[in-house]
């Protein structure tokens, strides 16, 4: 018997980026009409030159504003029945596109996929949950959205409720649920799907630790006992290595390797280091020490237990640690660390002189190590970049290291999990005291 359950052959997905500017997220009929009219009038002069771009909705910079982008190209692999495959790669590598094609949300541009068996995809926790409906109603709604039949849901209803631990709140609208309850209920429905192929995207990053373990256990059961095939995307490497036997590494639309999970994960971690925090070579260091007044060395990120990692728990504090050298005697040195979001917005800058003002007046020489503790429950879940610089206050810049390190804050149970759209909420979170008085009951 042929055991291949998923076979992907030279799969490709092309997106047509039509003026994907920040301001124009959507095509407006108004703009299309305006452009068409404009072109109608300018056609006389530029008819010949413009012929090949007739279909493009913009005139002048049409060649630049509309370009093809291959989110996936030439991806081929096979998955055997009962395998649990982790798909890893950086943001924008094409993982989500791959999952979207496999779950039939979007069509491939090239290549083909053969799937033998029922596919259920879990690209989001609680897809289709409606805040106004009760827990009971949402189980039915979400269940049928995920592809369960009504009789299947009725059969498993008690099991789902017990797994989610929400018996008492079944008839309450889910908008009044705590974020923990919400996620538990949503995952419980998904965990009771019985497809031959289960596709899971980054959904284990939510919920409290205990529930996460329960979910991981449930997923392991699904794969091991019931012989189901699971494709699993996550940035959480420990979850990947614990759950999966096989791994696929995707980078900028191409499949880099498919192998056993440990070698894929280590390959991924190495590639992350190369790209992000490339240490300066010995020669480079020697040259720079001659020119520069301050030399910033390695920048590391450590979690609460002082383990070097880039994956951080939103609830715990973490450290940014870096070395610097001052080859000549120098006064008035300010060290600064700036954290930016992945798209380059500055979130916070911290200065050495803020915590030790006297450091500025000291004349310094030699090698130093600085460690800065950042609090937990401060950065919103997401990816962040670290910049480190040494400068004279309001004056000369001695050394700058841009994007010298990066870290990802994993949401393991902030109160914002259920809203899912972190960008709309903020870049940082603050736990503030609310002083509330009851004035009158009308």
């Amino acid at each position: 018997m042929n055991d291949t359950i998923i076979s992907v052959e030279t799969l490709g997905k092309k997106y047509n980026i039509q003026y994907l500017g920040e301001k124009q997220r959507y095509v407006a009929l108004r703009d299309v009409l305006a452009e068409k009219t404009k072109r109608l009038f300018s056609r006389g002069q530029r008819a010949a030159a413009n012929r090949h771009t007739t279909e493009l909705p913009s005139t002048d910079s049409s060649a630049d504003s509309c370009e093809d982008f291959w989110a996936l190209k030439d991806v081929s692999f096979e998955v055997k029945r009962g395998e649990v495959v982790g798909i890893i790669g950086r943001n924008g590598a094409g993982k989500s596109t791959l999952l979207k094609i496999l779950s039939r949300i979007t069509e491939p541009t090239a290549g083909r996929v053969r799937l033998k068996g029922r596919v259920a995809s879990l690209l989001e926790v609680g897809t289709g949950f409606h805040p106004e409906l009760t827990g009971r109603e949402n189980i039915f709604l979400n269940g049928s959205i995920l592809g369960m039949s009504r009789s299947e849901i009725i059969k498993k209803f008690d099991e789902i409720v017990a797994f989610a631990e929400v018996e008492k709140f079944l008839d309450m609208p889910v908008k009044r649920y705590s974020s923990g309850m919400y996620v538990r209920l949503a995952f419980a429905v998904a965990a009771h799907l019985e497809p031959e192929i289960l596709i899971v995207d980054e959904v284990l990053a939510v919920g409290d630790l205990q529930f996460q373990k329960k979910c991981l256990g449930k997923m392991q059961d699904v794969a091991a006992k019931e012989g189901r095939t699971v494709l699993f995307v996550s940035h959480n490497m420990s979850a990947i290595t614990r759950l999966c036997s096989q791994g696929i590494l995707v980078s900028s639309g191409h499949m880099i390797m498919k192998s056993d999970v440990n070698s894929v994960v280590s390959c991924y971690l190495n590639s992350m280091n190369e790209a992000g925090n490339k240490p300066r070579s010995v020669k480079e260091r020697r040259d720079l020490l001659l020119q520069k007044k301050v030399f910033i060395g390695e920048v590391r990120i450590h979690d609460q237990e002082m383990n070097a990692t880039e994956q951080l728990d939103v609830r715990h504090s973490f450290y940014i640690i870096f070395d610097y050298e001052i080859p000549r005697e120098l006064q008035n040195i300010e060290m600064a660390v700036r954290i930016e979001t992945a798209d380059g917005r500055a979130v916070v800058t911290t200065l050495l002189s803020d915590s030790s003002p006297e450091a500025l007046r000291e004349t310094k020489l030699g090698a130093y190590e600085a460690a800065i503790e950042f609090p937990g429950m401060f950065f919103m879940p997401g990816e962040y970049l670290v910049n480190v610089a040494a400068h004279e206050p309001m004056g000369e810049i001695f050394d700058v290291r841009q994007t010298v390190a990066r870290f990802t804050i994993q949401d393991t149970g902030s109160s914002f999990v259920r809203y899912q759209n972190y960008e709309a909420i903020g870049v940082v979170m603050l736990n503030l005291d609310w002083q509330q008085r009851h004035l009158a009951s009308t």
Binding site: L29, E107, A110, K116, G117, E124, T127, G128, L133, S144
Partner: protein, 282 residues
């Protein structure tokens, strides 16, 4: 073991059987829309009664008392208005609801596969629930006027089907265009308002002359008027509910039916063509 092949341009051949497979999702989405609609507003059900009732009262006063439009003798003017209001409200709400349906369900569309046709279809069903409530109101009004419909009422489902097809067809066009051009939703309310004046809700279709003399030109006004697919539906409803007092004008009915069929089929065709790209652009 059934094998599923995904590749470019292979619009699944089993689309229609898929549609059948996803019937439960269709029902549950329709149920969700209905449940949410009546949960969110305190006066939920009351609102669906108040709105048609008020429009009927206002129209009766404006068209019958102020504009002094003539009406068939045996039928109270309020019933004339109500019988037309019934399908008009249905078509109008179904149209505007389904045109927005893909956008409001964009989280589903970008996360889950199912035949997208389900979404606008289920929002038409939601409007049908409103229609049923208004139908009850119509019954009450008939009792009040002690007006008994006759055998013609049995043909009402036929015209209901026509209304369904019309609303669905327009809805499909609008919602597919709405995904592509996001400013299309500003056009929809305008279309509804425009359609309202082009539909014989407050007056009888007999007020439209068959031939309209205009600077020596002979314009087949009634025939042109029937290009509005709602005209045939409204005429049909009046004929069914009001003991045939409003006569059916066959040319108009045929035009409406033909046009509705074209709208519905072309709507499905356009929707299917655009469907593949929904998840990418939404």
């Amino acid at each position: 073991m059934d094998e599923l092949i995904l590749e470019s341009g292979r619009t699944e051949m089993n689309y229609w059987s898929d549609l059948w497979r996803f019937r439960e999702l269709f029902l549950i989405l329709a149920w969700r829309d209905v449940a949410v609609r009546y949960k969110q507003t305190v006066i939920g059900v009351a609102w669906t009664v108040i709105r048609p009732l008020l429009t009927t009262v206002i129209f009766t006063v404006v068209f019958s008392k102020i504009a002094k439009m003539p009406a068939p003798e045996a039928v109270p003017y309020a019933l004339l208005v109500m019988a037309a209001n019934l399908p008009w409200q249905f078509v109008a709400t179904a149209m505007s609801e389904s045109s927005n349906s893909l956008i409001t369900n964009s989280n589903l569309i970008s996360k889950i596969y199912f035949p997208r046709l389900i979404v606008p279809a289920s929002s038409v069903i939601t409007s049908f629930v409103d229609f049923l409530i208004t139908m009850g109101l119509m019954g009450t009004l008939m009792l009040w006027y002690q007006f008994m419909p006759d055998w013609r009422m049995l043909l009402l489902p036929v015209f209901m089907l026509l209304a369904f097809a019309g609303a669905f067809g327009i809805g499909l066009w609008l919602c597919a265009l709405n995904v592509k051009y996001r400013d299309f939703r500003y056009i929809v309310p305008f279309c509804v308002q425009f359609g309202f004046f082009l539909s014989p809700v407050g007056y009888s279709t007999t007020r439209i002359p068959e031939i309209w003399q205009w600077h020596g030109f002979q314009i087949p006004a009634r025939q042109l008027y029937s290009l509005n697919p709602v005209v045939g539906v409204i005429d049909g409803f009046r004929w069914c509910l009001l003991r045939g007092e409003a006569n059916l004008w066959w040319p108009s009915l045929v035009t409406s039916t033909l046009l509705t069929t074209v709208l519905c089929l072309s709507g499905i065709w356009y929707f299917r063509r655009m469907e593949k790209t929904f998840a990418d652009v939404i």
